[in-house]
């Protein structure tokens, strides 16, 4: 089944039949089939950013994951306390692959699990006193730490601990920024609220607190790149080659000082709009810094983005930009010439966080692949509206799709490649369907920029065309034989 509007509408109906009435009614609101009309006017009817149904195996995480796991965790020279019981910090320890330079445990604290390890007594008597001691101990254990953030887990909010008061008092005592972040997992409906809360904390506690020795006309920030597999580095190198000066990188390989000086930039360049749009909006209002959303997945989108960025600067930058594109285009063409014939017309289903289901479409198209279903874990209405014009008529759009829905759609749509996360990965291995983890680049990367696209193209080819998939004995091939016995 491919991109037929009526067929796909029917397909969705069939899949949703399995739900009880109440859940079915809810899930129907989260699906749409792209029509020409909708694509042209960009109106997306899909309901998003509302609660997941209980009991349905949602792919979503929580606010803590959004704040500690995504936004704050990669700030490398601060210590982030997972405040509460041991689990949350343990599971988010080093698993997101946001690379950072520095010496672990000395001036880089990213791949560490630093926790208050709540016990029953902390729940009964509160964890405030303990939190103050923990902060002192952190400065003893990690004398080069530039600051501390407190990432609240569920119980902290429920028992009413005043982490703000402790942070304020200890910030004075220890003479360093200490940031309380109210990202308890029960807040909101997904990771998304955690991003927002984390952004607000950056705004309130660190933004504008330091100055740059000198500013220049080409100063920009990279906002919303988490440096998965080195993405931000592969992006930064292009901006710098073009003549821009990146003064802050948020938050992959990020540092406290970069957060503090970012308000001095002339332009904010935002990659993951979903997780950090709050920040660029605020900086536009508070400091008058304009912002631009860019996309460095795949050469087509990268050229477009580089030119859009250059257009905001003078002819020097614009000329550099064209020179750079002229320099890399032959390499990108050669990559496409090599891999496109192997990937042409392969169908792709994507279900990724809140941005990549949209941003990677161009990269797949550069390789001749067709997106037939695309959805997000925790996106909002604006993300769907931006995605819609990028889709072909008949594409299925899905919000917070459950494991069951993804599996049924994959079975019925004859998908050649599924891109999603580790919770989904091994299901598709059982099904014999090629799969890439598009949250973490499946332990590969970078995928951003020109250096990244090479890796992306190689990885997609490796995945789709691996001979291992041919080794899977499919049941449909077995059954007739069994029946004949």
């Amino acid at each position: 089944m491919g991109l037929n509007i009526e067929d796909n509408k029917k397909l969705i109906e069939e899949v949703l039949e399995a739900y009880p009435k109440k859940a079915k009614k809810d899930r129907e609101k989260h699906f749409q089939v792209a029509t020409d009309n909708a694509i042209d006017c960009g109106t997306c009817a899909v309901k998003s950013n509302i609660k997941s149904r209980p009991g349905v195996m949602t792919p979503r995480g929580c606010a803590y994951a959004g704040s500690k796991g995504v936004v704050w965790g990669p700030i490398k020279d601060m210590v982030h306390i997972s405040h509460g019981p041991v689990g949350c910090g343990q599971y988010s320890w080093g698993s997101r692959r946001n690379f950072a330079n520095g010496t672990l445990g000395i001036d880089n604290f990213t791949a560490m699990q630093i926790t208050s390890d709540f016990q029953e007594t902390d729940i009964v008597f509160g964890g405030d006193k303990k939190l103050a001691v923990i902060m002192r101990e952190i400065t003893e254990m990690f004398p080069l730490a530039k600051g501390i953030s407190v990432q609240s887990e569920c119980p902290v909010g429920l028992i009413g601990d005043d982490i703000e008061a402790v942070s304020k008092k200890m910030s004075k005592e220890l003479d360093m920024p200490i940031v309380p972040v109210r990202c308890e997992g029960f807040r909101g409906v997904s990771q998304s609220l955690g991003h927002h809360i984390a952004n607000d904390a950056i705004r309130d506690f660190v933004m504008g607190r330091a100055e740059l020795a000198e500013t220049g006309p080409y100063d920009v920030n990279i906002i919303g790149d988490y440096n998965i597999g080195g993405d931000a580095w592969a992006s930064r190198i292009l901006l710098e080659e073009m003549g821009l000066r990146v003064i802050a990188q948020w938050s992959g390989d990020g540092s406290l000082n970069e957060l503090e000086v970012a308000h001095k930039a002339k332009l904010n360049l935002i990659h993951c709009h979903r997780s950090m749009n709050y920040m660029v909006d605020h900086m536009e209002k508070a400091y008058g810094i304009p912002w631009l959303e860019y996309n460095f997945f795949g050469p087509t989108k990268t050229y477009e983005s580089l030119r859009a960025i250059a257009a905001l600067f003078d002819t020097t930058i614009q000329e550099n930009c064209e020179k750079m594109i002229a320099k890399y285009k032959p390499v990108m063409d050669a990559i496409i010439n090599k891999y496109r014939p192997r990937l042409e017309n392969k169908t792709v289903m994507l279900m990724i966080g809140g941005l990549r289901s949209r941003h990677t479409i161009g990269a797949y198209e550069d390789l001749g692949m067709d997106i037939v279903a695309s959805g997000y874990e925790f996106a909002h209405k604006d993300d769907y509206e931006k995605m819609l014009p990028m889709l072909e008529e008949g594409t299925i759009i899905m919000d917070d799709p459950t494991a069951y829905e993804l599996e049924e759609l994959t079975r019925k749509m004859n998908i050649d490649l599924v891109g999603s996360g580790v919770k989904e990965k091994y299901v598709y291995h059982k099904m014999g369907v090629p799969f890439r983890q598009m949250h973490s680049w499946d332990y590969s990367g970078p995928y951003h920029g020109f250096d990244g696209f090479k890796v992306f193209a190689k990885d997609m080819d490796m995945t789709v065309n691996s001979p291992v998939w041919d080794l899977v004995t499919r049941k449909e091939k077995m059954e007739p034989e069994e029946a004949s016995i």
């Binding site: 195996m57 019981p85 041991v86 949350c88 029953e120 729940i123 303990k130 390499v331 996360g421 890796v455």
Partner: protein, 519 residues
């Protein structure tokens, strides 16, 4: 196009290129980093005895602990039963984390659902979430049993699972007969092993009570001959297979209570099935009539063991993970004692072969100083294995070692085991400590080898000590869990892993003249 330009470099080599080295240097002007001297001094300080003392004096901050939280263990326990859906009552992020964490270790899917509680449930309680969740998950995933555990959120607000499940039945969401087992697993108590124990006990007691059977240990022609076996929080699917092999050699009937090996070692057939293997639900009440129960993780399964010996009135033989020759000997003796069957000649022969292998390799192991990290039962097994090969355990860290079995404390047992051998004289057992403590230990009193999970890799690297990956989680090596480490065969696997790591080290550190062909 030159070949070089089409040379595709990923992160393993790309960022070593000069242009990226320059980028890294250039970025520092905005990072306001500490000076190279400051960093070097701090690094040296972190390796000092003075630092170690401070490190061991900290009271409250926990740095790189070697334990996960209770409900993660409960999810694994639930997956040990046939067509059982793990169901996590609380905030949905927890469930996402459990599924990711277990899948990263086993490289297999982890089906599990959540009640997705949010702010309103925090205020009004999660009953509606639980009722809706039961309705949806039963309709979609068609389990034959649902096994509910709680997260810290549900526990802090005091949700009452028993009454909620009762109300789900009254509402007709599930029938009166539909099995729903449950346990309370607040994350601020115990660790993944206590959560595993809570769910196993929850499922056994629930299925037994509702069956109406009254236990008569050793009764019944069919069921009475059976032995019950529990492996506990078992990160090795290969250990289940090895135990089955041993029990088959004994020719005894048995029931494994909690067998998640099917779910975590399922075939790629072109169809995903959700449920693979597991203890049959109808076998659980029958297990109450078995001759006795063999537990291979006595600290982990504390409450389940108490339940079986108390309510089922059964003889319990509780061991720790049977590693090494003597550990396996104990296992075979326990099976023999519980069943009255002799130890099969085939296993005695296998023992001889593995002892022979140990003799071949012992010169490379003897006197090797070792650091160990893991759960209590695994550590008891590992200590035993090290001592019988002539390896010397030096630093032993057990973050969740504060458990006892029949008033026998893990720490006391470990220390007694070490004291009984001349090879244990240097060892210190650190209970409730974390991997940052271990880092200090490794840096201040060096060892030849570290044995533990992937999480130990950071401390081992800082101390330049090779790491043998054993335990949970192993995220950065493939298929380790498919090879047993228990029994004689497991001993051989563990031996091969260790001795070949040491031999590789000899090759890596050769001085030219001793890059030898024969070892």
């Amino acid at each position: 196009m030159s070949k070089d330009e089409l040379n595709i470099k990923d992160n393993t080599s790309l960022f070593k290129e000069e242009r990226y080295v320059q980028q890294r240097e250039n970025k520092k002007q905005f990072e306001a980093p500490c000076s190279e001297q400051e960093t070097a001094e701090a690094l040296a300080y972190s390796k000092s005895a003075e630092y170690m003392e401070k490190n061991f004096n900290r009271q409250n901050v926990v740095i790189n602990p070697h334990k996960a939280c209770q409900p993660l263990g409960s999810v694994m326990a639930a997956l040990g039963f046939e067509k059982t859906l793990p169901f996590v009552h609380g905030s949905q992020g927890c469930n996402a984390y459990f599924r990711s964490h277990l899948s990263r270790h086993f490289k297999e899917p982890t089906p599990s659902v959540s009640t997705s509680m949010t702010e309103d449930a925090a205020v009004f309680g999660g009953m509606n979430n639980l009722i809706d969740g039961l309705e949806n998950s039963v309709a979609l995933y068609k389990p034959e049993m649902v096994a509910i555990c709680t997260t810290c959120m549900a526990e802090v607000i005091g949700d009452d699972l028993n009454s909620f499940i009762g109300n789900a039945r009254i509402k007709g969401v599930i029938s009166e007969e539909y099995p729903v087992a449950y346990c309370n697993t607040p994350s601020f108590v115990g660790s993944h092993i206590t959560g595993y124990d809570a769910m196993i006990k929850g499922i056994l007691s629930y299925l037994y009570t509702r069956s109406g059977i009254e236990s008569k240990p050793g009764s019944g022609a069919e069921s009475g001959e059976k032995l019950n076996v529990m492996l506990g929080f078992e990160p090795y699917t290969g250990n289940f297979a090895e135990l089955r092999k041993i029990l088959a050699a004994f020719d005894t009937k048995y029931t494994i209570l909690g067998d998640h090996s099917g779910n975590y070692d399922s075939p790629a057939t072109g169809e995903y099935e959700y449920y693979y293997g597991g203890t049959k639900l109808e076998d659980v009440p029958q297990a109450a009539n078995a001759l006795g129960t063999l537990s291979l993780q006595k600290y982990t399964l504390k409450k389940t063991q108490e339940y079986i010996s108390g309510t089922w009135n059964q003889q319990i033989s509780a061991l720790s993970t049977p590693l090494g020759i003597k550990g396996t000997d104990k296992l075979l003796e326990a099976i023999s004692e519980l069943t009255g069957l002799p130890i099969p000649a085939s296993l005695t022969e296998e023992r001889g072969r593995v002892v022979d292998a140990l003799m071949d390799s012992h010169p490379y192991l003897h006197g090797k100083r070792v650091a160990l990290v893991g759960d209590p039962d695994l550590l008891i097994g590992l200590i035993g294995f090290c001592l019988e090969t002539g390896m010397e355990p030096v630093h032993i860290v057990c973050s969740n070692g504060d458990v006892d079995y029949n008033e026998l404390k893990f720490k006391d047992e470990a220390e007694a085991l070490l004291a009984a051998s001349p090879y244990g004289s240097e060892a210190t057992v650190h209970v409730g400590k974390d991997l940052w403590h271990m880092r200090s230990l490794l840096l201040n009193d060096t060892v030849d080898l570290a044995i533990g999970s992937s999480h130990l890799k950071f401390a081992a690297k800082d101390a330049d000590v090779p790491l043998i990956r054993v335990g949970f989680p192993i995220f950065d090596r493939h298929h380790m869990h498919r090879y047993p480490i228990i029994g004689y065969q497991g001993t051989l696997n563990l031996l091969s892993l260790i001795v070949n790591t040491i031999l590789q080290q000899l090759d890596d550190n050769n001085s030219g003249f001793n890059f030898e062909l024969v070892r």
